[in-house]
Symmetry: C2
Subunit: 324 residues, 2 copies
DNA sequence: ATTCAACATGTAACCGGATACACATTAAGG
DNA sequence: CCTTAATGTGTATCCGGTTACATGTTGAAT
């Protein structure tokens, strides 16, 4: 049996389609008993309005494009989950776009989103091209100075917390592994770290990594101990790198945290299962997604927006990989 | 500037909308120079057909509903990624549905998918209610006997491999932690495990868990060593549980793998970063998603389908948590 | 009694494509 | 030269909603 249409309902209730539409959308005037009749017809036919037809006329659907650099990076599923939970509660759906840091795929997705009349885009990816995009747009995590609407963590504070935690363990040689230099988040993080470290007489070195892939983190971890055998403390750019470094340290027979301190960033769920438990800086990843979705939908629905840029606090999760 | 429509293109090229449509879709007859004129107009206007309008007429969109029990479980992002990669290559998009094992949300999503004229549904979730669903449907992973189109791993073989690997380490007391009894995958796994273990004189015990949440895995791991202090080998239902058990074992001061063997299941990416490296049974998770999407789209597009039920092989990934 | 606003409902156009059908035109075959 | 099939193009309708506008009540205020 094919799905009932608004005309079927209208016929059954003995009214016009306009009236049925008014009942569905609670718009305009509808008499008491007419409303009742229509509701009954809807009930009996198990009618539910077709979203595609609605989208066509409104030129706006209930779909939201969700751009993620890489869902197989464990940071993003939580973000996606938060975003999706909020969207569902407001009657929206996410169209998934896994961009893999590829600008081609990125703009391909933006195009597809447009063809589908998405109501807006929530992006955890950023490229200069994104500013051309006309739809309501909220950036989470990968913020730049140009982004108008965004939700992100206080990375300066995060950097400070990580540095302080490491300093507490009286380190002799600190290595800071930083994320891509081009990303503002990384810059803030480094600024936070240096604001603390530079006041101390302790030697530290900063190196950069451009990949958050596990395989690359493993290679990096290997290389670190070759290039800097004397280090006893590492501030990692995320938990993946931290775990890789931790593992490599253990393989080299180092006592954790006595001979090697490691602190990660993000607090992805798996850190709880590492041995020893990784110390890390907690980001409210789920909330990042949730608030991003909220901000976007508020924007879409023209609500009052109290804050275009939302910065979330981070906190230290003291595990067993830093000295107390 | 608003997007160009097919009528704009028709006007610019001096032809009718039907002709433009024929050019776009390569259908019917179009003259050589007419085709050229139309293509040029499309180019100049940067026209790209509106997917919503097309969906409305066809009663079928280029969207595919993707149902996942929980994306924050690290098994599923890889699956989603495989599915999405294939979909994109065939011109389809995934609408994300995170179901959290809740039948309410599940059917809510199916409804929304329908309202959006999805072309089909790819589901890593299964409930009896799903058989009512009319659209093309492919189930990945969570297969039952009733599922018509499906892609899944050879869990019987997986169970055998895990049991054999554990046996090689000359265990004295084996504990098998199994997934939910209701899920056929778990049953097959157990059958495979028992087909090996039952031929040996070694004592083993099977217990069940119903959750794959990290917190629950931690509780379970704690309980295991209280209830069965004598065990020296554990076959876990997935890597999360395995890692939790491994960690708890280490906390209790057990030598790995001398005093405690652990084998997981799935081979989620993070296992590579565990210390010691977890031994596990590898599932081709990405391929599961990829092939699921392929099967579904073949179904949608009425292609020849050589195999309605695709079973993928698994293999042992020998880490450092089993004795050789 | 007249006027006007609030209420109630229907008609028809519109959103942007796809396509059935009608109507040429051309070329091939008898 | 005529018939017929293949080719090329346009007109109008449909998909399933939303809404501008027209029309018709009803009741309160003047």
């Amino acid at each position: 049996m094919t799905l009932a249409t608004i005309r079927d309902v209208a016929k059954k209730a003995g009214v016009s389609v306009a009236t049925v539409s008014r009942v569905i959308n609670d718009s305009g005037y509808v008499g008491q008993d007419t409303r009742k009749k229509v509701k009954q017809a809807i009930e009996e036919l198990n009618y539910s309005p077709n979203e595609v037809a609605r989208s066509l006329y409104q030129r706006k659907s209930k779909l939201i494009g969700l751009l993620i650099p890489d869902i197989s990076n464990p940071f993003f599923p939580l973000l996606a989950r938060g975003a999706e939970d909020h969207m569902r509660s407001r009657g929206y759906q996410a169209i998934l776009g896994n961009v893999q840091e590829d600008p081609e795929i990125f703009s391909e997705y933006l195009k597809t989103f447009n063809k589908n009349n998405v109501a807006g885009v929530l992006s955890a990816v950023n490229t200069p091209a994104i500013s051309d995009y006309a739809e309501p747009l909220v950036i989470v995590d990968r913020v730049t100075d140009k982004t108008e609407y965004s939700v992100f963590s206080n990375d300066y504070q995060g950097g400070m917390l990580a540095a302080k935690a490491i300093l507490q363990g009286r380190p002799k040689n600190i290595l800071v592994v930083a994320g891509p230099q081009a990303i503002k988040r990384s810059q803030d993080r480094i600024a936070g770290i240096e604001s603390i470290l530079s006041r101390q007489p302790i030697a530290y070195k900063i190196i950069h990594t451009n990949s958050f892939q596990i395989a690359d983190a493993e290679k990096m971890a290997f290389k670190i101990f070759e290039d800097y055998p004397e280090i006893d403390s590492v501030i990692a750019p995320n938990d993946i790198h931290a775990l890789a470094i931790l593992k490599q340290g253990l393989l080299l027979g180092k006592k954790i945290p006595q001979e090697l301190q490691v602190i990660g960033y993000d607090d992805i769920p798996m850190t709880r299962l590492s041995s020893p438990t990784l110390s890390t800086i907690h980001q409210s990843t789920y909330r990042l997604g949730w608030l991003g979705a909220k901000l976007l939908i508020d924007l879409i629905e023209d609500r009052n927006i109290s804050d275009k840029k939302i910065m979330l606090p981070v906190r230290l999760v003291a595990g067993d990989t830093i000295r107390k």
